[in-house]
């Protein structure tokens, strides 16, 4: 009985890689047989993956923009603004009076003396005025500053030059325009060498500079960016020497409104303290805060630390990402359940096929692999389509809405591997159910 002997030695080679590849092909074939159903099945995964990538891209873009703005303020800087104390604003409207508040030259001196590792202290005056070039005009902030201001605020000189120390000492009427302002006032002619008028004074334009980011306390919060003071972010600035500002505008600002006169005395509107070492920023900011709170009776100043804002922005981003992750997880689980649902239906529908395969020598493991591969193909293809859409959608968002989006390279990878895992996990139950069918029953199934 050669025949028997031959049969007794198991001739089954292991179903190796080639066998797996054949199973994958068979899987593709049976999914292709039900194209529409397969497509509908994977939609959950497709939208899950695509929305994860798109949302992450939008979030990343928004936070990147915020961080860029904060970085422009200079991460080694501590910025102090003068703020009108709130309780002084409510005074009888018929009276004329003078409010005195804000940062003083004395504060600058105090900081210089108290804190040794502070290199530059930039005093600035900011006056809101209308700026004219012939008939063109724009409402702007006139900033009286020092020559090294742009360097400190990471501003880029686009044309011409900034004013020099000599010009500052001689109170020259020169000015540097921020870029949007230059575009508005000099739409056709080059601005440099021309004059602009503020009130009754003329200033010679010597340079154009990039628009600066405006420090606000709301900056660290991505979600809050729409509110708060960010409306002033668009206000263009005109830079003139501090000394010129002082002599042209004086220290008293007078505002007349229906019968009452209101005057404010503000020595300095803005002050920038630059710290040598980034690690010392927080400590220094505490000292500055301390100095101010000791010498100012009212809270007429505001401290802004870009570094802190940056950290806050990062924390916000983390929360944002966590929320996104949760949404992603939910949508992928929903997608996975969709796949499981269809696979269970498919298993029932193909009971007969399972019976046939079992009768022809398929082990339980073979059946498990067959159905598992089908689910993984489904979720994998869904993942790929989702990644494609997820990369395309941010592109179109940026294209049509000017919202910045950034697709980080890891987000498609993570989204895809999660979707494949979901397929694997949710495929296990239907596959086991298929494998545990009684072959006799399965063959009898109609």
């Amino acid at each position: 009985m050669d025949d028997l002997a031959r049969h007794r030695t198991a001739r089954r080679a292991r179903i190796g890689f080639a066998g797996l590849w054949r199973t994958i092909k068979v899987g593709f074939k049976s999914l292709w047989l039900h194209r529409l159903r397969s497509l509908l099945t994977v939609l959950g995964i497709v939208f899950g993956v695509c929305s994860v990538i798109a949302m992450l891209a939008v979030g990343e873009g928004a936070s990147h923009e915020a961080q860029e703005q904060i970085r422009k303020l200079g991460s080694n800087n501590i910025i102090v603004h003068s703020v009108k104390p709130t309780d002084e604003q409510k005074v009888g409207s018929q009276q004329s009076y003078v409010i005195e508040y804000g940062i003083t030259y004395l504060d600058v001196e105090r900081i210089r003396q108290t804190i040794p590792d502070v290199t530059v202290v930039v005093p600035g005056r900011i006056i809101r005025e209308r700026v004219w070039n012939a008939t063109q005009h724009i409402d702007a902030e006139i900033a009286g500053t020092v020559p090294w201001y742009p360097e400190l605020r990471n501003l880029v000189l686009l044309e011409g030059r900034y004013f020099t120390e000599v010009e500052m000492n001689s109170r020259k009427n020169v000015c540097v325009l921020s870029e949007p302002m230059a575009r508005r006032l000099f739409p056709l002619t080059p601005p440099i060498g021309n004059n602009v008028r503020v009130g009754s004074d003329y200033y010679k334009v010597i340079g154009v500079i990039s628009q600066e980011a405006v420090a606000t306390a709301a900056m660290g919060n991505i979600a809050k960016q729409e509110n708060g003071r960010s409306n002033s972010a668009a206000t263009p600035r005109l830079y003139i020497p501090l000394t010129a500002a002082k002599s042209r505008f004086g220290e008293i600002l007078v505002r007349r409104s229906s019968g009452s006169m209101e005057a404010e005395t503000v020595e300095l509107h803005e002050l920038i303290v630059q710290v040598h070492n980034q690690n010392a920023v927080e400590e220094t900011s505490k000292i500055v805060e301390e100095l101010f709170s000791r010498n100012h009776k009212k809270k007429d100043y505001e401290l802004i630390v870009p570094l802190e804002l940056l950290r806050q922005a990062e924390r916000t981003k983390q929360i944002f990402n966590t929320v996104l992750g949760a949404i992603a997880a939910i949508s992928l689980i929903v997608g996975g359940i969709g796949i499981m649902n269809i696979m269970l239906a498919s298993v029932t529908e193909r009971t007969r096929e399972i019976g046939i395969r079992r009768a022809l020598g398929a082990k339980r493991r073979d059946i498990v692999i067959q159905f598992l591969i089908e689910t993984v193909i489904l979720s994998g293809c869904g993942g790929i389509i989702g990644v494609g859409l997820g990369v395309l959608i941010p592109y179109f968002i940026t294209r049509f809405s000017e919202m910045a989006t950034i697709v980080t390279f890891w987000s498609p990878i993570i989204a895809f591997s999660i979707s494949a895992t979901v397929g694997l996990v949710f495929g296990i139950y239907p596959a086991l159910r298929a494998a545990n069918m009684d072959p006799v029953e399965a063959l009898r199934h109609e």
Binding site: D3, R8, A10, I356, A359, G361, K363, R364
Partner: protein, 231 residues
Amino acid sequence: MTDVPYIAALEEVTKTYHMGTVTLNALQGITVNVEPGEYIAIMGPSGCGKSTLLNLLGCLDRPSSGRYLLGGDDVSMMDDDELSEIRGTRLGFIFQSYNLIQQLNVVENIEVPLYYQGLPAEESRIIATVFAERVGLGDRLYHKPFELSGGQQQRVGIARALVNDPLVILADEPTGNLDSHSGTEILALFDELHRAGKTMIMVTHDDDIGRRAQRVIRLRDGRVEEDIRNG
């Protein structure tokens, strides 16, 4: 007779089904020995245990008691994986309703048993093609089952049962779904296989098969009623 090893042997095999509180004794002690090259028809009224017996012979089910030796090995105590292996290597199945896999074409259907034995794709493709030609389907190799007539589909089924060179071919009403012309063709094919020395066991109502078979086993109420050898 004594020194001829049986290719398949059932010894006092019983099968009991428990359905809730009802107990059904489908087989009540069956002893059958099958010699190599035999052509056996199992007949009997419905409910006599034919299907149960075929399921046991086909290793799709295990007996409640008794022994079943197939090719010298006791398969009655084997686990599921081992039984799958046995089905894939020692048995060939032919079904009444052909049981072809609809999404696969003729050659691919014939290949299925080879696939589960891990035969390389090219090799199994060649073998399957040879068997398809042998049952007269050389010009239908890449047709899907629904494109074939009943008789052609059953030929695919037969080729599939032969492709792994089994010890025993089991058939369940192989002509039950066929018109008499195709049925006769299929029966002629069986005769041919018998002449080639294949061992075949068929469950049937068809007296034609009964007449052609070498041995007829009649069952009644889960027991062997008679076991006759024709000529």
